[in-house]
């Protein structure tokens, strides 16, 4: 647990976030999530509400947001859940941040396929920019986290930065993405080698005629 989140001091957090309340838009959105479930089952809405709360905290602090204790308790109270049960959910999922993160939350996948395809190089690019695992850079821009499989193995190695995936990375392309982000430019989202989603690198090797049109192969069957 060496890189476990260093949960900020409770008293300070309460002073800063004790008065947390939904913005009018988010209040409506929260109610929409709660209304999806039958009465008495409102606890089912805990995950979307926590996500919403994290985003609201992010908007207020111009970061990717996190879940301070008073905010967790606010959600618990709204859903009439024991506080312990909500904090269990928060701590279980890596998508909820228990400590503040920067403007860009860089989640590098380090699971086997990505590791074999060079996630170490991706991490090296991050380290070169002064990032450390589980920490935010002093300028508040980047937070680096190594995560388990994010489900884009065909495009390994990949990172998730905020809500977007950046795939088929190399140390150089990762460095340029980070430079772009730091400079306020929007890098290309998705594959960095120009392929669409997870289609084959270098174009198709079978069913080539399908590229131009919906080719009918049936006549060519032997």
């Amino acid at each position: 647990m060496a890189d476990a989140p260093q949960i900020p001091d409770e008293a300070e957090t309460r002073a800063r976030w004790g008065a947390f309340a939904w913005t009018p838009d988010n209040a409506k959105e929260a109610q929409r999530h709660i209304d999806k479930y039958p009465a008495g089952r409102q606890a089912s809405a805990v995950m979307p509400l926590l996500d919403l709360a994290q985003r609201q905290v992010g908007a207020e602090t111009d970061t990717q947001g996190w879940l301070p204790i008073p905010v967790i308790e606010y959600v618990a109270a709204q859903l009439d859940m024991p506080k312990m049960r909500v904090i269990e959910v928060v701590s279980f999922y890596t998508m909820y941040n228990m400590a503040p993160v920067g403007k860009f939350h860089i989640q590098v996948c380090g699971t086997t396929p990505c590791m074999l395809r060079g996630s170490d190089d991706v991490l090296a690019a991050c380290y070169a920019k002064g990032m450390k695992k589980g920490a935010t850079t002093p300028d508040g821009l980047f937070t680096l986290t190594e995560v388990e499989c994010l489900g884009a193995c065909a495009n390994a190695p990949m990172v998730q930065i905020n809500d977007d995936n950046y795939e088929d990375l190399t140390e150089a392309s990762m460095a340029s993405i980070l430079d772009d982000l730091a400079a306020g430019r929007q890098p290309v989202i998705g594959s960095q080698i120009g392929r669409r989603t997870s289609e084959q690198v270098g174009g198709p090797s079978t069913l080539k005629d399908m590229k131009k049109e919906n080719h009918d192969y049936r006549g060519e069957w032997a």
């Binding site: 312990m84 049960r85 904090i87 701590s91 279980f92």
Partner: protein, 674 residues
């Protein structure tokens, strides 16, 4: 009734039984960590693997697998042995080898089962995971590196204690059991998680490093901290009781005990009265037994029958009977046990009894609490109410609103509501098959409440064939025994105060308002230097419940016997022998010379005390003065102001003091500097 075979033994098991239960019925031991009879099934420790046909060709977790017709269960195959060894090896990957310094050592499920079902050695030499300690309050000590994540404590807190304070943070290998923000567990049942923990992760904080289980003498006793009469085991070494553990009694405490029961024991060796004292010139001065007896005998001779005896909350029937005999021999019948001034009618004992029985609470489908903070007055009846709610019961309350760990529909704090119940309650009770009313001491203190509550017997149809839902919950362990022995005046203790007795015996009575006895010569016979000893003219050191054999009657009228675990300290004697010697000093005859003789005389006088089990009072509601009902009204105040400090033993206990200040008063306790 599915028929299964376990290791070739054909057996019929009840519907809904699991494979694990089927194996137990067949006499096969199944190792387990997460499974517990009284908690929900988690199925996460995997220790209970067995082979089951038909089914997939792999070991199955028997605790979570229902037994079905024609199953062929094997617990003795190489596959099962191998599976258990494998699970045990995984459990031990991260479990530290610190048994020599672990308080669970000697009574540890993991220790026992690794010897019985594990491999002889470990194949892992990688570093073990370490987990930081968690703070869980003054009762529970944590060494979380030892935790095997069975989640019994989480399930207990949620399901039985009703306090969702404990949970598991993070996931996978990083999973950690903790309380919310590491605050103390806000439950009076927290100590039970120590018993539930199959390893040494949660151990008893006050008992830390005190003793090993094999060096303790085990004595079967009855708890005196409240009126429930929990069955307990006193573990003692030498002259000191070191800990209290609950015994299983399905009718009384199941297998739980609350924190006061478990951790008052350090009070048994503090502030003890260990020699007689006589008041001279306004000060209590240490004296010999002869001097003390002489001082009492002088007053007794001139008292001419103006003698009274007041029993406290933790007095056994034998002591009360001995005192009764002495008072009678001195020519009086002024006896009272309700020391705080309660004066309800006791012409019918059934009408002041917990008639449905404690186990019967689970069957109730509508419950009305009248002036009872059940969570503090009888925590183990409160857990039964929780069970009744799980089965669909509705609970209503009259009195100040308190958190009873379940949903109560409160009507308000006004005793007159008893006579005119809101429609919500009358409707619920109309459909109820097993309606129940629980009247607490707080309500009985008010004039007319007893009569009004009696009225509910008819209007709510509390009594029917095979069911009596009229319950009174007493907070004192000696109450029902005292009432059976006649320790009650019509007007309560006020009658005795009005009679101005020349000589008054106080048997461990520390809650009495002593200002009413200023003219009396006060003799305190008890074990702790508390309010009673401060007010007394003569103090005679007696034995606590752990230091004498005794008969106890709990709030449902259950007669139970308790054994002597240790000897009383110093010059202190067993109470009956003090009273017997006092009779000699006063020159009167009480009719017994030995403890057995006393018990025989007591059983002759009250035969019900000679049979273990429910005393079985005849139930008939006494006709109470109609005028008393006219005065009905007013606010109810609960009798217990501080759960952890209700009697002299608790008040002498540092652990209970700490629980009180930390859990109830929220003071931050600073850890002592190392």
């Amino acid at each position: 009734m599915p028929n299964v075979t376990v290791d070739g033994i054909p057996i019929a098991v009840p519907d809904g039984a699991t494979v694990l239960q089927a194996c137990e019925l067949a006499g096969k031991e199944i190792p387990r960590f997460c499974y517990h009879e009284r908690l929900s099934i988690a199925g996460n420790c995997r220790m209970c693997l067995v082979e089951v046909k038909p089914g997939p060709p792999k070991p199955q977790a028997s605790c979570a697998l229902p037994a079905t017709e024609g199953q062929e269960i094997r617990t003795d195959t190489p596959m099962v042995k191998h599976a258990r060894e494998g699970v045990m090896e995984f459990l031990l990957i991260n479990h530290p080898l610190d048994c020599p310094i672990c308080d669970q050592g000697g009574e540890c499920d993991l220790q026992d089962q690794s010897i019985a079902y594990g491999r002889g050695h470990s194949r892992y030499d990688a570093n073990k995971r370490a987990v930081t300690e968690k703070y869980m309050g003054p009762i529970v000590k944590t060494v979380m590196t030892r935790c095997i994540q069975c989640t019994r404590c989480i399930r207990f807190a949620e399901e039985v204690a009703g306090v969702e304070d404990i949970g598991a943070l993070y996931r996978g290998e990083d999973m950690q059991i903790t309380t919310y923000l590491e605050h103390a567990i806000q439950s009076e049942l927290a100590g039970n998680v120590v018993d539930l923990c199959p390893v040494g992760a949660l151990t008893s904080k006050p008992y830390a490093f005190e003793a090993r289980p094999w060096e303790l003498k085990k004595t079967l006793a009855i708890d005196v901290m409240d009126g429930v009469g929990s069955n307990i085991r006193l573990d003692s070494r030498g002259r000191q009781v070191l800990r209290v553990l609950p015994r299983i009694n399905e009718d009384v405490n199941e297998e739980w005990a609350h924190d006061k029961t478990r951790h008052h024991v350090d009070g048994l060796v503090r502030r003890r009265l260990d020699k007689p004292f006589v008041r001279q010139g306004g000060k209590l001065v240490a004296a010999s037994w002869d001097e003390a007896f002489a001082a009492i005998a002088k007053v007794a001779r001139s008292a001419k029958g103006s003698v009274a005896a007041i029993a406290g909350d933790q007095v056994d029937c034998e002591t009360m009977f001995a005192a009764k005999s002495l008072v009678k021999a001195l020519g009086s019948d002024m006896l009272e046990g309700r020391q705080t001034g309660l004066a309800y009618d006791v012409s019918n004992l059934g009408a002041v009894n917990f008639n449905s029985t404690i186990a019967g609470v689970e069957d109730a489908d509508a419950i009305l609490l009248i002036g009872s903070n059940l969570r503090w007055e009888a925590p183990l009846i409160n857990t039964r109410v929780r069970k009744a709610i799980k089965r669909g019961a509705r609970v209503f309350g009259i009195g100040p609103e308190v958190d009873l760990t379940y949903a109560v529909e409160w009507f308000g704090n006004d005793a007159s509501l008893i006579a005119k119940l809101p429609k919500a309650a009358t409707d619920a009770f109309k459909d109820a098959k097993r309606p129940m009313v629980i009247v607490g001491g707080g309500a009985l203190k008010l004039d007319g409440v007893q009569g009004a509550a009696m009225g509910l017997i008819k209007t709510l149809k509390l009594v029917s064939e095979g069911w009596n839902g009229f319950n009174v919950v007493h907070t004192s362990a000696s109450r029902m025994g005292g009432l059976m022995l006649g320790f009650a005046q019509t007007g309560g203790i006020a009658d005795i105060v009005a009679a101005k007795p020349r000589l008054a015996f106080f048997l461990g009575a520390d809650e009495v308002d002593y200002s009413g006895f200023e003219g009396s010569f006060k003799v305190y016979i008890g074990h702790h230097g508390d309010a009673g000893a401060h007010a007394a003219d003569v103090v005679l050191p007696g034995a606590s419940y752990a230091e004498k054999h005794g008969t106890w009657v709990n709030t449902e009228g259950r007669v139970q016997y308790s054994d002597k675990a240790v000897f009383a300290p110093g010059d202190a004697r067993e109470d009956w022998s003090i009273l017997r010697a006092l009779a000699d000093a006063c020159g009167v005859d009480v009719g017994f010379d030995s403890f057995d003789g006393l018990r025989a005389a007591m059983i002759t006088a009250v035969p019900a005390l000679g049979r273990e089990g429910l005393a079985g009072y005849d139930f008939s509601a006494p006709k109470l003065d109609a005028k008393a009902q006219m005065k009905l009204g007013g606010e109810i105040a609960y009798p217990i102001a501080d759960f952890y400090l209700t009697n002299a033993i608790c008040r002498a206990s540092p652990t209970m003091q700490r629980c009180s200040s930390e859990i109830l008063h929220g003071d931050e306790m600073l850890e002592a500097a190392e």
